[in-house]
Amino acid sequence: MELIFFYIFAIVALASAIAVISIRNPVHSAIFLMVCFLQVAALFVLLRSPFLAAVQIFVYVGAVMVLFLFAVLILDLGRERFGEYLHHQSPIAIIVVVGLIFVIGLGLARGKLDAPLGKYTEAELVKNIEVTGELLYTKYVFPFEVISLLLLVAMVGAIVLVMKERK
């Protein structure tokens, strides 16, 4: 039963991801991106981490999409079309992608996971947010603080690159 849902979400996610890059109208591809993100959120629920699912919807479906739509609307899309900038690269791209899929598929077919699958039991994972919080604020404190610096730099960067300095 769970597997059926997994396949539904995964297939819809893949299909919408392909739609994102193949549709010419950028607003439509942004909407498809939202569909893709929602499916990924559903996959997180299947993986017993509802907190990540909430993060996915909170950040990606909410905030990042706002940003995308603004970026898309700021661009002068009435006349610009993306296709004109691709200098016959698609055959090469297809070869590379097919090659990559082949290599990964081969590896997956021959490989087996010998690492233990998750040390938390179902009962512990009900308190998903506590598990996440405890790890994030003890073991992963270093990346956590680096993220604050990263966000600061992103903020400074947005202002520096977009605004004009007031005289």
Partner: protein, 479 residues
Amino acid sequence: MDVNIKLFLPEIFITLFAFVIIGIDLVMPKGSERKHLARLGIIGSLAAINVLIINSGVTGTTLFGLFIQDGVSIFFKVLFLLTGIVILYMAMLYEEKVKNFKGEFYALILFAVLAMMFMASSNDFISLYVSLEFLAVTLYILACYTKEESASVEAGLKYLITGALASGFLLYGITYLYGATGSTEFTSISRILTGKEMSGFLAIGLILVVTGLTFKIASIPFHVWAPDVYQGAPTPVTALLAAGSKAAGFVILMRVMFTALGSIKPQWVLFISVISASTLLLGNLAAMPQKNIKRMLAYAGIGSAGYLLMGIAAGSVLGSGSVMFYLLAYLFAISGTFLAIVIFYNSEGSDSIDAYAGLSRRSPLLAATLFIGLLSLAGVPPLGGFIAKLYLIAAVVKEGLMWLAVVGVLMAIAAMYYFLLVIKRVYLLPPKVNLPIKIGTVDTALLYSINIATLILGIYPGPFTDWVMEIAKVLFRGN
């Protein structure tokens, strides 16, 4: 809680200085000169180097094993801070070209140095990825800082798009490695992998992680951004990309390949060797027809990444020690060359190689700096770059990779050809205008000391090579 503040005190220093620079910038009168902020940044970097040297005996892991301070990280942090000092000085000379937000330019350079220091201390894939993204975001902003010029914006955009793709590869690879080993920490991955067979998951993870990291070091297959970005970005940022970002890429490549994946070395040697050889060929051959000096140095930088990868392919103490020595020699050669390029650009307003004709008659010091810097990059004795290439080639020969050594030697000759083309213009062709180029006293002192450093590394490399070989042993302690 596992916090030993002594181990990351230099990082705290740099962070505070960057904050202070942003803060002072806010209260300074608008549109005024901001050179004092760069001086402040240089003082901060010197203070951090001082702290590093005082505490160099204190090593170990902290912050729950995610942060490591050992000989390698101390070496690279000093290297990054020295790079930062030179870049800040270069940015000071370049300030007139930055129209808006001058103060933030210095702060962002300091943040980039900070990110590289975090990378040098990463002992876990999570901290590696986060600090790598921190560096990437900072460099995306810096690359298109002179947004009035379309070349700079193009550089930033190309860097961003390839960077995002590469970081996707890296992250995807990390998930496979995590799936195969059940850990993200380098030392415990190494412990888990000891005596294990190569599995499919491991192979995919390894290929994807290495592919993702080739973006930072500008080697095949993620080298395409380098020429456009080097040419379009503001020159101090180009120097930062060339000297700093590449070294940061190699420190994490060394930690991943030697510390984490060292026990499956026989499986990845061929892979890295092929990348190394193809990068060597592409970089050095494509550098020949270039007309713009920054673009030529971009291809030469790709070639250098190929040489450095030889050290990774060797996978031994000798190999990684040579990588560190090469990066040290490379730092001095690159900073001298780029300093000369900035001073020349400020006077002439051109980066084209033809404009350098007759430079020796207009400014003997600039000409000599280019001479020493470029020949060190080419690997001509008795300069630092020669010893570095010699050690790298020796390292691969010792591991039985004769064919790679042959490619390395042949490409060193090719490199000599295109660098000598520049030297020929500088020394043998007559100048178009015969005005001398003015160089300030501090500039002169800095150029002299950089040139002397390159010469010392070439003539008397003994203590330095012993030092890096001693440091490099740390990487292999896990196995």
